[in-house]
Subunit: 200 residues, 3 copies
């Protein structure tokens, strides 16, 4: 659990960097950058917790807001250099959504949601912070662009529920299902794969 | 109660079709269509439940997400034909908001809200799914267009509270107040009625 | 507490006027104006309460919705004259955010949030109603414009936590910290002060 907690804090920090970097691309002030970093980091998990009718973890545990603050400061002080690391940031994001989907799914099941709702809420945990970031910045949300993003999260979440129904060990299952998300995301961007359009 | 439950599921299915159809008009991919169908179907009721500090019903009862999934599949496979049924869809939508307003109002009262808050929350139950759909699709939300939509819901909700204070039977009251919403909606579109503009 | 309650109701009324006035600038109908007044008045406090997993006060206490209704009616009937009082409205808004930040922070601490989360939630209480209003009206949210607004709220909230850690009396602390917000807001607009831009 201690390791999971540390990964969760690092995830918040990385998402805060990504949010503040997006704000930097729009040349807004440092408060706006901090605000965008904050909503990117807490948006997905908070929405899941609100649907589960539980209190988001950052309200009680100050470490999350400190991690976000550090992420924002890193982004503000080093965004000129970070801008050249798009590839590294992309890998971090792919790792982040893989991890957050499975953790979000497990938290939902632990809060007695139905399995099908846990799949949706796991995906929400991973992608809704970015959706809020894009909406604030007036960009078309990533999940509506022609990329496989939320669908990768859904696939991994479904995989976790299916493997779990066969009695697979939770830790191995989490590792395999998160890896599936990561691999689908990397391959789909590498080979420019996309879903069919409706209404074409 | 069993009949109400079935109507509620059908309502979720119809709203999911309407959301996914709107997405089809914007030529987005099938995930985006499913996502839009989902938020259209659950948006209003979930917002009501969040304000009431209760857990949205779809988190616990998987049948709602199954109904939405069926609605999305219907929209994706038949949107070419459904497009010709705008008139039928309009009638379904008018029926849907009439039903959801009164059910939302009753759920709010059952959760001990004040009567004036129940009127607002009943209206929210009916219209906020569509508002979220329109915001995601970058359209001006229907409730801000020059049509009588949310105002019809408010009228029916106020009617329910007033008739209830005179001691009318709940079932008859629900039927009459929902009918009032339906009639106001149909008449206002038929005769192009609209509210006065402020700031004109 | 009675005085605080009355100030809170007046705050809701003033924010409702401000929301409905913004709607009037966009020439939308009276329902749209009322809706915008409502979300401006309840948006910030409701978001805080949702994060705290408590029920927003307006759901139980009908007086808030009545105060909002009165504010909307004032705005609709007198917006031609109110339009000339921009300076007065600006002062009311500055007073409103000062008050709501400190009250929101105190409510968060009373609901056992961490101190750093209470700072964020206090600021949210004050500014998120306006953010929702601007998003609905398709304007760039005030907090993203080149003005010191949310940062003033943050400064006052931090001041309250710091002075409180030195053992200062809560009432005196609330007065001093709210005054700090008000003064920063007034001075920054008077002298056109702004935060540095990231990504410039």
């Amino acid at each position: 659990m201690d390791l999971l907690y540390q990964i969760d804090l690092i995830g918040a920090l990385v998402f805060a960097i990504s949010g503040a970097m997006t704000a930097a691309d729009h040349k807004i002030d440092i408060f706006g950058a901090a605000f965008t970093g904050f909503v990117t980091a807490i948006g997905g998990g908070s929405l899941r917790d609100i649907f589960l009718n539980t209190r988001p973890v950052w309200v009680d545990d100050g470490n999350y807001l400190l991690a976000i603050l550090i992420g924002v400061i890193i982004a503000i002080t080093t965004h000129r250099y970070l801008g050249k690391l798009r590839r590294t940031l992309f890998m971090f994001d792919a790792l982040g959504i893989s991890f957050f989907t499975i953790v979000g799914l497990q938290k939902s099941l632990a809060a007695d949601s139905s399995e099908i709702a846990a799949i949706v809420l796991g995906m929400f945990s991973a992608v809704m912070g970015g959706v809020t970031r894009d909406t604030l910045m007036n960009e078309t949300p990533l999940i509506f662009r022609r990329e496989i993003y939320a669908t990768a999260c859904l696939s991994g979440a479904i995989s976790f529920i299916v493997l779990s129904s066969f009695g697979m060990d939770d830790n191995l299952n989490a590792f395999l299902s998160a890896s599936l998300i990561f691999i689908i995301r990397i391959i789909s961007v590498r080979y420019k794969l996309s879903l069919p359009i409706i209404g074409g």
